[in-house]
Structures are given as C-alpha cells and as structure tokens.
Symmetry: C2
Subunit: 451 residues, 2 copies
C-alpha cells in the first residue's frame, strides 16, 4: 500500500474513514471497543460528582441547550455539545480511563463522549456506533504516533490535542461525511487542538478530553454543513504536525492502516492515578502482603523507576486528592499501609491522613533509564535492618498483563456503586457489552443517567 | 515598577486587572475603545450573511441555549456562549476588523464578542464595559508582544491564541474576579488556545476569533465558579509562551503596564483584505487617477513590497472571494480597473470577472526587506512604453496615517447598508459612540440585531 505517495496523510485518513465498510471490522476489535465502552462509562459515572464537573456545569448552566443528551451518572440532560464536554470531563477526572501506552493518549474520553451525545439526538445503530468508535480511536492514536514523543515532550497534553481528530472521525463516520468533508473536519479539529501539560494537577486536565470531544463533534457537524478548512492540515508545512511537534513522522504512522487496529493496544488501568505509578503500586501490594504487621516498622522505602515517574508524578508534598495522583510518594505510602489501591485513596482526606503523611517522607525514588515504564524495583528497610525487595516486571493493566473482562466489570461495579443500585449497574453492564446489537446506541445514554 | 521580580507574569497581569479602578482609564483610551466598538460592530453586521457564519449557525442550531444574546445584523437570539462564537466569526470573516500592527493581532473580535454577549445576560454599565474592553485588549496584545514574532512565524494565528486571554480579561473584570480567579481564567484560556495559519484562506480563519471569544468567556465563567488551573500558565517552563513560541520575552512586554495603553496602537482597516496589501491598494487608487482612460493599455505592473506581502497574500490564481483576500495580484488588478476598494471587491464574482482575470497575470511582485509593511513602490508600463510610478510611504489605516472618526463612520454605514435602514444605522452609530454613558452596554446587542 503506497497511497501516501499520491495522497497527503490528511486525505488518506479521510478517504479511509469515509469509505470504510463496517462489515470489515474484525470481531476482536468489536470486543475491544465494548471493553473500552464499559471502562469509559464506569469512569464517567464514577467521576460524575467530582467538583471539576460540578463547577463546569454550574458555570454553563444558564447557557445550555435543550436536553437531548445525558450527563452520565447524573439526572441532567443537556444539549449534545455540552454533554460531550461534561462526559469528557467526568470520564477523565479520576485519571482512571484507558491509555494507549505508545503515545500516552487516553483514547476513549473524546471519542465516546462525542458520539454517545450525538447518538441521543441522531439515532445510530450499534454496529455503526462500534465501527465509528474503532475508527475514531484508530485515527486519534495514529496521528499521535506520528507526532509523539516530541509532541508530548514539548508540553502538549496529547489527549487534548489529538482527541478532536478522534471525535471528529467517530461523529463524521456516523454522519456519513464524504472524504472532502472528513478532511475539512480534520482541519476544523486541528485548528482547535489545545491542552497544556502545565495545567496537570488542576481541574483543567480533565477539561482537555471534554473540549476535545466538543471540538471534534463541532468539527464534524460544521464540515457536514460545508464549513471549509484546509485539506492537508496534518502534514502541511504550517499544519498540525510541524507546528506542534518536531520532526514528525506521520506517513510512517499510517503503515498497516485498516489491517492492524491500534485499539487492540488500548490498555485499562486498575488504579486511579498516573499510569507510570502502577508498577510501584503492584510492588507495594506485594510488599504489604510480605510485611504483614511489620508495616509500622518501615525505616525507609526505595524505588528505582523509569525517569517518567518523577517527571510526571514527582510531587513530594501533595495537599489535595488531585495532587496525590501526581505523587508516586503518596501512592507508595498509602498502598504499603492499606494493601490496595482504589479511587478512594486519592481523596483530600486520605492524602492528609496522619499515617500516610508520616510514611511519605521515608519514600525515596531513583530514576534509571534501563527500567521500563511498566516496571519497578522496590526495596524496603525495616527498623531492625531487614531488607525486603520486590521486582515488578509488568504492571497490571500493561499490554503484557492486561485486565481481564472480569477485572473491567469489577472496576465498573466499584466505580458505579455510589451512583446506581447493584441491579441497575448489572443491567447497564449487560447493555454495554451488547452495544453492537442495539438498534440505537444512544439508548445507552438514558440508562447511564441517574434516576 | 519591578513587580515581575516577585510575581510571575500571569499573576502580575491578574493582579493588575483585578485591582484596576475604572476611574483611572484615560479619556483618550475611552475614545479609542468607542472607535474600536464602531469598527467591530460594523464588521460583524457586514459579515452577518456570510456563508461561514450561516454554516456554523446551521451546524449548531439544534444545540443552542436560550436566547439571551444577539447575533449582530441578524434576527436570531442565542445563548451567550454561541453569540460570542457567532459574532467573533462575523466580525472577522470579511478580514476587515482592527489590527495591532506590532503583533498582527485583531484585538476586538474576541473581546467585544465575549463581553457584549455576556452583558445581554448580566447587565454591565457602559463605564465598566469600556474599561473591561480596554483591559482585555491590553492583556491580549501585551501577551502577544511577549511571544511574537516567533509565535506567528511558527504558524500560530495569534488572534486565535491570545484572543482567549483578552476575552477572559474583559469578562473577568466585569464579573469582578479576584486575582486568583483571574489567574485561573488565564490558565483555562491558555489550555484552550488554538488556531493554525494553515487554514488561512478557508472559513476556519474567522472561526479563530469566534472560538477565542467563546473560550475566554467560558474561562472567566468557570474561574468564577472556582474551576482551578495553573496560576503561572504564561511563564511556566511548559506554559503558553515556552510551548507556543521560541525565546519568549513576556516580562519585557509588561513594561509601562497601566501607564501606556496598547489599545492606542489599535489600527483600523479601510480595505476588506489582508493589511499587508493596503499600501499597494493606496498606490493603485492613486495610479488609477493618473491613468484615466489608459487603464486598458497597461502592459505590466510591477510591485516592490515587504516580504510579508507575498508570504501572506501571494496567491497568484485566486478562484473565490476568500482566496482573493490572500492575493495581492487580485487586489492590484481590481483596484487599478475600478479605482476603489470595498468589501464587494472580494466576492467570487469579482475575483472571476473577465477584465480582472485578464489584468492579474500582468502584475508581478518583488520582495525587498528594506520596504516597510505599510509601504509600497509601484511601477506601471503601458503598451506605448510609458512608465508611471507611485511610492506609498504609509498606507491609510497605518499608525502614521490613521482613519479618522469620520472614516470609521463611513465604513460602518457602508458595512451596514444592506442590513439596516439609513436611520437605524445612524441611531446605532450614535449609541455606540456614547457607550460609556449607557446604563447597560448590553442594550447595544438588541439594537445591533436586524428586526
């Protein structure tokens, strides 16, 4: 396949999406989309009472349009553009959503938030819905592959920047955009692409997938009306890749388009914090078991980790739950004491708990480029001089050690426990798994609301 | 004043805005804000039937909120967030709005579009309105000064990227944000800042001030609810300036803040196309007068211009009105024939007019770094060998040769002629000039609608 020699990358992607026949989507890709849906919906319901969402909803309350679309886990119904924004926020605010490891994109937030909101207004059959999501994640992650890691290193939150392309793809496919309209949608999405890593640790981080969902949905809606844009926005000398990255390699990232599906590399997180902390948490769970009652006599804890761990989660003195998600020290301390990690371990209360605050300064971390991002070496010294070590080769949730469907169900039930009855959670789960067979995938919105 | 040694630039700007006493705004600044209002409102009404606006409104029609705010020049009333978007689009779509020459920012679109929309929902007295606009333009242009020209050279449309800071400032001042909330608003605006020059020549260009208005308005509304963000988003190592520019010089750009007002450098355009073409148009108007009936015997036209002219407006064969705005060749040809330049000279029809298309290829252009951006040297050779030259030292609308208030009124009446009756246009003009004295500046929205 050498389409890139005649078409630009933007048009190649647009042609691919516009001409894709949904029958050609492999069954394992369908299954992976369903896994992604369950994970995304659980995260959105779990984050639906978070102050970041509540404040955003309060800010926009006087300006909302008529209620075609659901805010997951809540009673409100709002216009689809704002539903996309709000569900994008709630699905990311716990830092518990999915990750494409190669690029650090969180693919589901922008894509599902946009398409589900639209499908409550324009019915979309389950088969088309699943195909549209697969295409959205595909385009989003492949564009990210073409500009990362430089793009992320510069300071861009790649979920915010490429998320709009994913959302535009999913919505554009469902709305049957032709290739030219799809290329325009990419132009419109690109010229709204934004999100700075500088705001990590504040409510703005979760704004990024929300805005990406809203911008991508907007882009597809506008392109369908004939709102024009560049038709080569990805690769042009002043286009997305060159302006927002260094030495991009977009063409390479399209190799095997349509035969290998990037969504298969989508990984789910068992723990509600930065992915790079996961191997440390796995190690601390194991060490907690080995320690038993001796947790109280820890003198020091030493971590040897990939450099990204301290770059992304190096906060030594977190004061809030949100900051706790960016502190490997907090995670290590609280998991060594409690022996497990749930979303409740990243609340203001737990971050300031006396025993956690006391153990935290005893944790030191050393970076080592030879340690993989899903790997960690831990060493604990007790007051009596005893040393206990632990090596985590691949963290749970990594591609080598993925969460099972049962793990994902467990996570969904945990995240929705405070919002839905057990019966309702089970019902919702069943509907999510059979998304491909639904006459209108938009019906999922209604059942994911809180009555 | 050495506040920057103790406060970061973000907080310095936030403190400045939050603590500004409106009585301290100089009268010449008030007058310049009124000039900017007349110019902005005229452009928005003039652009209100443009396909770019119509298509955007059609795309979002099912999702609009209740109608507190006016779409200028039209009958519709929509929610304030979308009014900000729509008026931002229409005010820029003719490429006829104001320009801060030092940075190429078009300051009014984001700022007026956001604040007028809000003031139709939350009444804002005229004095506060004018002060908020002055502060908005001040912050927007000073941030641009701190990152340009590198920011623009990289490929960012600076009006799209800094416009959100301006809109957030104006709205934040009117909503009485404290300094911390104002800093958050800058963080929220920064992490939504976007707009690529790659989309110039398409409908997306005018989307930029629209989205900037909407994003800035959103940012201030969210910050007021306590939606948190970075408090040093402008200057942080991974903040706006470092990620989106090279060697930024933010601190320098704050010198004389509060004593010298950048809005005084705001310039208005007499012609509905790229500013860099203006000296060529002035020259062609003069040459048309000199030529008289000899226009038909032009053999060749030679332009010697600043390099930016060909970089920004070098399209040799424009096919649409929009593309015509980016073709110095079209402008030279049509003005030599018609002897004047109005918004009607950038329609599909005129760009494809037989006499214009015939003269266009006879126009050649040479770039010369020693020629200023508001300067041009023109030379015409006739069939009989006669040569006629023209040197334009400063184009009309430059800081050295600004449009008078009467010029701006003439432009407003021209732009609104197809939408309003003469009487209505005169009434609206009067209300705009006395904006400072209005009990609610939001009343301007209603009178700028089309009945």
């Amino acid at each position: 396949m050498d389409r890139s020699s005649t078409l630009g990358v933007t048009q190649e992607l647009a042609e691919f999406v516009a001409s894709f026949e949904k029958g050609k989507l492999p069954s394992e890709v369908r299954h992976q989309v369903a896994r992604s849906l369950v994970n995304w919906a659980g995260c959105a319901v779990g984050g639906s009472a978070h102050p970041a969402l509540v404040k955003a909803m309060d800010a926009f309350k006087p300006f909302l349009g008529s209620g075609h679309a659901s805010v997951l886990g809540r009673a409100e119904r709002v216009d689809a553009l704002h539903a996309a924004l709000f569900n994008g926020i709630s699905s990311h605010v716990l830092d518990f959503d999915d990750t494409h490891h190669a690029t650090l994109v969180h693919p589901s937030g922008p894509v599902f938030s946009a398409l589900l909101a639209l499908s409550e207004f324009v019915p979309i059959d389950g088969d088309t819905f699943v195909t549209a999501i697969a295409l959205g994640i595909e385009v989003e992650c492949r564009i990210a592959l073409g500009v990362c890691p430089a793009h992320y290193d510069i300071g861009w939150h790649v979920t915010g920047t490429v998320g709009g392309f994913g959302a535009a793809t999913a919505v554009g496919y469902a709305l049957k955009l032709n290739a030219q309209q799809m290329a325009w949608a990419y132009g419109i999405a690109a010229t709204q692409a934004a999100g700075l890593r500088e705001v990590f640790g504040t409510m703005c981080k979760s704004l990024h997938p929300g805005r990406a969902a809203q911008s991508g949905l907007s882009a597809a809606l506008m392109a369908k009306q004939g709102f024009t844009s560049s038709e080569r926005v990805l690769e042009a000398p002043r286009g997305f890749a060159h302006v927002m990255s260094v030495n991009p390699h977009l063409s390479d990232s399209l190799v095997d388009l349509g035969t290998r599906w990037v969504v298969m590399d989508n990984a789910f997180k068992p723990y509600a914090c930065g992915l790079v902390i996961h191997p440390v948490i796995d190690g601390c769970i194991s060490l907690h078991k080995k320690l038993g009652a001796r947790t109280a006599s820890i003198e020091k804890v030493h971590l040897r980790v990939n450099p990204l761990v301290l770059e992304l989660t190096g906060k030594t003195e977190p004061r809030t739950g949100l900051e706790g998600k960016f502190s490997v020290y907090h995670s290590a301390a609280v998991v060594l004491i409690d022996g497990l990690s749930t979303s409740k371990h990243y609340t203001d209360t737990v971050v300031n708990r006396t025993d956690v605050v006391a153990l935290r300064p005893k944790v030191s971390a050393e970076v080592d480029r030879s340690v993989a991002v899903d790997e960690a070496f831990l060493s604990i010294t007790l007051n009596d001089g005893t040393t206990i070590t632990q090596h985590v080769e691949h963290a749970l949730g990594s591609l080598q050690k993925p969460m099972s469907d049962a793990d994902i169900n467990f996570k969904f039930l945990d995240l929705t426990a405070e919002k839905f009855s057990k019966e309702k959670s089970q019902q919702v789960l069943e509907q999510c798994w059979r998304v491909s067979q639904l006459a209108n995938a938009g019906d999922l919105g209604a059942i994911l609301r809180r009555e």
